[in-house]
Symmetry: C2
Subunit: 190 residues, 2 copies
């Protein structure tokens, strides 16, 4: 109940809904409780759900040919996301989604997500906002990868997402920053 109110609040930050449409949207979301280390999506599966994180932490990551984990997104409450490329294309994902903490999400299926986009203009606008924000996020990520040193990326993360730094292990943080955990250890102690 509380989770659905949180979801309503987040949605309305990005798109103007009338009450009935918003209820209709929110009713399509189902509560999921996920245990720490549980995998929501395996590589090779199709991402059939989109998530609102009501509490906890989930991440998307992939594994390189050399066997290195690269963390793509870290999401703590309140936020939204999924393995977006697979969700959009409905093709097998090369990303995993897992939970770094016990996590409560509200999940909406691909079918409902797109059906609502056809039926409710405000939801389609919301979806556009999601894509715009995701695009801008990727832009900043690329800019930081090509212009900042490892130390600078770490400092930037501390400044912009202190909560994430507190809650996530150094191993995971390092894989999110595109550095090795030995390197993160060293630059933390400078």
């Amino acid at each position: 109940m509380e989770a659905k109110n949180n979801l309503k609040q987040l949605i309305q930050m990005f798109s103007v809904f009338d009450g009935k449409d918003l209820d209709k949207v929110v009713d399509c979301f189902k509560t999921r409780l996920i245990k720490k280390n549980e995998i929501l999506l395996c590589e090779g599966d199709i991402a059939k759900e989109f998530y609102f994180i009501n509490s906890g932490c989930i991440r998307t990551y992939f594994i390189t040919k050399q066997g290195h984990e690269k963390t793509r997104y870290l999401m703590i409450e309140p936020s939204i996301g999924t393995a977006l490329t697979s969700f959009i294309s409905q093709k097998p994902s090369f990303e995993f989604i897992d939970a770094l903490e016990n996590t409560e999400v509200l999940a909406i299926s691909y079918k409902d997500f797109y059906r609502l986009a056809d039926e409710i203009q405000a939801w389609k606008n919301f979806y556009l906002k999601i894509m715009e924000m995701a695009y801008s996020f990727q832009n900043r990520k690329i800019e930081s990868l090509v212009t900042l040193s490892a130390t600078e990326r770490y400092k930037q993360l501390i400044k912009e997402n202190p909560k994430i730094v507190q809650r996530v292990s150094n191993k995971i943080l390092a894989s999110y920053l595109d550095i090795k955990q030995e390197t993160l250890s060293r630059l933390k102690s400078k």
Copy 2:
């Protein structure tokens, strides 16, 4: 005339239009002829136009604090794009847009672009497709940055975009691949 037919063809690859709506959309695009090295957008300006490249080549790039150019997008005909972050947000861009060759574009203003999105569902769907494709492109870019060596990135570019490699100088290619031109020279001769 020919350009507008090319634009119609490209649009219809991504979204289903009826004839009248498509004409209405295409009528909002104006022809622009741009000379090689002409700057379409300066850092600090707001991106007020979205482009269809009918012939030629344009790129978006930014300059780091150290004064290095980093090329973000290379677009040869037929393609679409702009400095998307600034276009979406209507805030000053940190990217430049310039022409690497004499180029003919069809340009649509921000106002028309969004007005059409309100009036014509197929255009809004088209815009969604643009965002989805842009997002996927960024994803692949990030993946290549964090998993491939300089040589591998170069080889991937040759394989996936041979036309671009032929038409764009090594200096620009290097800045697109996030390597220095000395490095590109060296790995080309291996």
